[in-house]
């Protein structure tokens, strides 16, 4: 059994992909999950665990799956990860746990992400909520916690705080809960029913949610601090970056956030939705992260004839999940490496009609250990496109910097915190993309957890004395 190759996820047909937003891959069934779990060598040193930002006890949950003890396996995962159905789908496992898997050194790594996904779905289907998380850390406490934003960092922090016995209220500016899980990640990669189920589980634990409430505008930050013992800032990185090239404000040029929000949050792909979305013939996506690939694959589903994704470096440097890149190529997205747009071209009515790109070459490593790139002069070429999606990253929302008085942030608005996610203000904590800039769901969850521990230390001290 241990010599068998990794079990692949079954995929839906090309026809279904072209016209629907159904999830592209299918979760393992029980037999396949057990079969895959048996590939795990159960190494004593468990290198996979070192690769997990929240330290999930990977060999233990896998061994429980192998023994068909799914309920118990769920508890193991949920002890450190409140959102396995989400993480199993969106974590960059190939760069984290699976990268360090011993089996991967000589064959293919155990499909840890697929197994986590299986357990997450099993938990939702069987109504096993996150009751195990944090329950062993602290007794019921007194105090109240306000959580700003409802993305993965906030949901994790809320989950831990409510189980520590605090009153928890989550404030969300939009009309729907989940943050980037709802507005950013498409249905075909993360079905929204899973996010809704995770949120329902928090409601059942007693977390209160206030939608349509933008802290800093609807309720001032100082009022919020007066009303609650502790405040967690999990406002994410919503402000899209643009390239600052000519033609970027032409009609038909979207930030990835706008394009994906129209489709995911506002359901613009459905006939009955009132929110418009441009269905273009030729699409140019700029960037190489998950958001760029999500945008490109969304454009394919909205009936585009061609979708070209321009990335400045080579395939080896693409930061998106390996699976997304593979799926995008299967679906017909053309990846144009070592390419950078330098100008967008207008028709007579202010609509984008094309782009001029230049070729790049790789140069030395940058400070982050990634190869830099250089533009090669006189390599201009033009492509035709009637829709351009700019997916080159995001920064924290400017409202945090402008309206959260006395909070210390850096030049781009990222909240400064110590290693325990404590800000410069007493009783104020922060984590996730609001601190790091655009990063992964799992690192945001790790930060939400770390902040919850700091909150517990503060509130226990306050109310015990």
């Amino acid at each position: 059994m241990k010599g068998t190759p990794r079990n692949k996820l079954l995929e839906i047909s090309m026809i279904e992909r072209q016209h629907t937003f159904k999830e592209t891959t299918l979760t393992y069934d029980k037999d396949v999950a057990i079969n895959e779990a048996k590939r795990c060598l159960n190494c004593k040193s468990a290198p996979c665990r070192q690769g997990c930002p929240v330290g999930v006890n990977i060999p233990l949950f896998i061994s429980k799956i192998a023994d068909s003890n799914f309920d118990s396996a769920v508890q193991v995962v949920k002890a450190t990860n409140a959102l396995p159905a989400v993480c199993g789908r969106v974590c960059p496992q190939s760069e984290q746990c699976e990268k360090l898997c011993v089996r991967g050194k000589n064959g293919s790594a155990v499909a840890i992400g697929c197994l986590e996904r299986f357990l997450g779905d099993y938990a939702i289907d069987n109504g096993i909520y996150c009751a195990a998380v944090g329950a062993n850390t602290l007794k019921a406490g007194h105090g109240s916690v306000a959580i700003i934003g409802s993305g993965p960092a906030s949901l994790t922090c809320a989950c831990e705080c409510i189980q520590n016995g605090y009153k928890v209220v989550v404030f969300e500016a939009l009309h729907a809960l989940g943050g980037v899980l709802i507005y950013g990640i498409p249905e075909f990669r993360l079905p929204k029913r899973l996010v809704d189920a995770e949120i329902k589980s928090l409601v059942s634990l007693g977390v209160k949610f206030e939608i349509n409430t933008l802290i800093g505008r609807s309720i001032s930050f100082s009022d919020l601090r007066k009303r609650f013992d502790a405040v967690f800032i999990g406002t994410g990185a919503g402000l899209p970056n643009f390239m600052d090239i000519e033609g970027e404000n032409l009609n038909g040029v979207y930030s990835a956030n706008e394009y994906l929000t129209r489709v995911n949050l506002m359901k613009a792909y459905l006939d009955e939705s009132d929110t418009p979305i441009m269905r273009a013939r030729n699409v140019l996506v700029i960037g190489g992260g998950n958001v760029a690939f999500d945008s490109a694959r969304t454009a394919m589903r909205l009936g585009s004839k061609s979708v070209v994704l321009a990335y400045r470096r080579t395939k080896d440097e693409i930061p998106a999940r390996v699976e997304e890149v593979e799926q995008a190529e299967i679906e017909g997205v053309i990846i144009s490496i070592l390419s950078i747009p330098v100008k967008l071209l207008s028709d007579d009515n202010g609509n984008v009609r094309g782009a001029i790109l230049k070729k790049c070459k790789l140069s030395e490593m940058d400070v982050r250990g990634r190869r830099s790139f250089e533009i090669i002069e006189n390599t201009d070429y033009e492509i035709e496109c009637d829709l351009v999606i700019v997916a080159i990253g995001t920064n924290p929302n400017p409202i945090v910097k402008e309206c959260f008085s006395d909070l210390v942030t850096d030049s781009v608005g990222r909240v400064l915190v110590d290693q325990n996610n404590i800000t410069n203000l007493p009783g104020v904590y922060a984590g996730g993309d609001a601190v790091t800039g655009a990063a992964t769901v799992i690192s945001a969850m790790g930060a939400g957890r770390s902040a919850a521990k700091s909150i517990a230390r503060q509130l226990n001290g306050k109310y015990i004395n």
Binding site: P240, N251, N257, T261, D274
Partner: protein, 275 residues
């Protein structure tokens, strides 16, 4: 859910809604806006907060029925609920440091001018108002503004009320008559009108603030849908605005961008209404 407390037809296709939203009312200030979503399939649409009452917990919006969302809203009556209302968004206006102000509204732009007139009046500031309308039927809030302002001038396209002509005709006349009179012009209306106002005031070198009605999606600084170029720099109407120095606005871009969903909107509207 946010209940409509009162609904009043002010002019053909122009309706005033008073909505129960105590959190928004408690923080609202002139110049800010709300994002409204009528129902589950609805768009998120920005509307200026035209008035608010902190005691009653209500906010008032003035809406011209022009497309899908405003049509759906027009079917709602007092007592009915709106699914989502969020705000107050955008920067509040601060006009207190000017000695004499000219407020200019074209059509539905009066919804932005009216709360300014109220606050200026309460602070004993000196200000005049020009309201420009298509015809006498389209005049909204003119009685209220007449009481609040020092002088009210009305222009109409067909001459059925006030002076026949455009707001720009009246502005030109006022500025020619007394150049140093105003130290601020605050103009709100369709982008071509605001651009025309700015062209005149620039000649007289009078600072001009405009309130841009950019298309928005989330309204919270998250998507860049409402981006505008101000003095060569890209700004977001939703968080940096909606008010900007009119002399620095790239008007061609504003006008092009305001039209970018027209065809899609029309198609959806016709389908919705079976036209």
């Amino acid at each position: 859910m946010y209940q409509i407390i009162a609904k009043r037809v002010c002019a053909p296709e122009v309706i005033e809604y008073v909505i129960y939203a105590p959190v928004i009312a408690s923080s609202a200030a002139p110049g800010q806006f709300v994002m409204l979503r009528v129902d589950e399939n609805g768009e998120r649409v920005p509307f200026t907060i035209c008035d608010f009452d902190r005691l009653k917990g209500s906010v008032t919006i003035l809406v011209q029925t022009v497309g899908v969302s405003t049509y759906k809203l027009s079917l709602k009556n007092a007592g009915d609920d709106i699914l989502d209302l969020a705000g107050p968004f955008g920067e509040a206006t601060d006009l207190k440091n000017y000695s004499r102000i000219l407020l200019v509204a074209g059509g539905i732009g009066v919804a932005v001018i009216y709360p300014q007139a109220k606050v200026l009046n309460s602070k004993d500031c000196k200000f005049d108002v020009i309201l420009g309308v298509r015809n006498s039927q389209m005049l909204v809030y003119s009685n209220e503004i007449k009481i609040l302002s020092d002088y009210l001038y009305i222009t109409s396209d067909d001459g059925s009320v006030g002076i026949k002509g455009f707001v720009t005709d009246k502005i030109g006349e006022l500025l020619n008559a007394n150049q140093s009179h105003y130290d601020l012009v605050f103009a709100v209306g369709p982008p071509p009108m605001m651009r025309a106002v700015c062209e005149i005031t620039k000649r007289f070198n009078i600072k001009t603030i405009v309130s841009l009605n950019s298309i928005m999606l989330d309204g919270t600084g998250m998507c860049g849908c409402c981006r505008v170029t101000i003095g060569g720099q890209v700004k977001y109407s939703c968080v940096h605005g909606p008010e900007f120095d009119g002399h620095l606005v790239d008007w061609n871009e504003v006008i092009f961008r305001s039209k970018r969903f027209n065809a899609l909107e029309k198609e959806h509207y016709c389908k919705l209404r079976g036209l």
